[in-house]
Assembly symmetry: C2
Homo-oligomer: 202 residues x 2
Amino acid sequence: MPKITDERREERRLQIVHAAMRCVAAQGFHKTTMADVIRESGMSAGAVYGYFRNKEDLIIAIADKAMSLADRTIGELLETDPLPTLSAMVEHITTAITGFQQGEQGDITRVAVVVWAEAIRDESVRALVTARFQVIRGRYAELVRAQQRAGRLDPAEDPELVARALFGLMPGFVLQRLLMGDLDPETYARAVRGLQRISDTP
Amino acid sequence: MPKITDERREERRLQIVHAAMRCVAAQGFHKTTMADVIRESGMSAGAVYGYFRNKEDLIIAIADKAMSLADRTIGELLETDPLPTLSAMVEHITTAITGFQQGEQGDITRVAVVVWAEAIRDESVRALVTARFQVIRGRYAELVRAQQRAGRLDPAEDPELVARALFGLMPGFVLQRLLMGDLDPETYARAVRGLQRISDTP
């Protein structure tokens, strides 16, 4: 085999991951076969198996790709000065999510919904998803801590607790966008701002 | 056939719907067959077909059952005097959701996640789910309007807009509860209250 550069290798790897995402979004994880992914990737079976031994390897690669994007998005927010407000954070994160939708990997939010369903039925997928949810939610807690440092939230509030609500807003964005088609990041940010404005004093 | 009372008829109908929910939660909608539901229900094929002609009829019955429960829960909130705070509303709704989990129909939240995934792949399931999401979200807007009437939110805010964020909190509760297992209604309500306390002024 001719030697290929690391860059070319990564490019090919992504080509396969994107093909796998399109397959999973279209027909679910269970129905997707390595043969489907090979066909969709336009590469040879030998080439694909050189990168991924089986479907499980592929779903890990998909989950890791979603995770690294979440990680980068939150990193950008933490580095922005002055710190974006909570609703601006929601807009930035949901913009990143909808950016996925326009990427060549097909619709990553569709893949996400499929993977959630697999996760509640399949122990190994569940372990994989749960571990990544934990990490992402931990990063959301960093966003809450940053709001505390910026003087916008009482330091006595538990950032890990509040992160459950911030994280909890995202699946609802994905579902409403996919199923009702009437939600964009700016609208959702305004909706969250409205929710925040409701006084919780009886 | 001997005559049966309306009550007995409704009871049998529910017995089938609950069996269908257990099947769908365990193996997804696509894999579930009428034969599975018949076996799970413990009834005869003739009896089951007397209530539901096919799988589509069953998924409509499942969706309608979830909807009527959502409807009842929101009705209870609107009738409570004094009006519960937003976080108390979140606690009441998520309590109703987790109440489903303990019901004999198996875990309705698991069914929900499976149905979301089917909805993005199957046009007819999607139409069904989208229509019900629209109605439930409209009911959430009524909760926001009630908060406005109670003087807890500026009447200038758009209740249909804010309802997108309130509705948007629920799938994230379901997923975190199912996949991370560390969320209960009271904790989520406190998390939402924390989120509301973050000042959105830069």
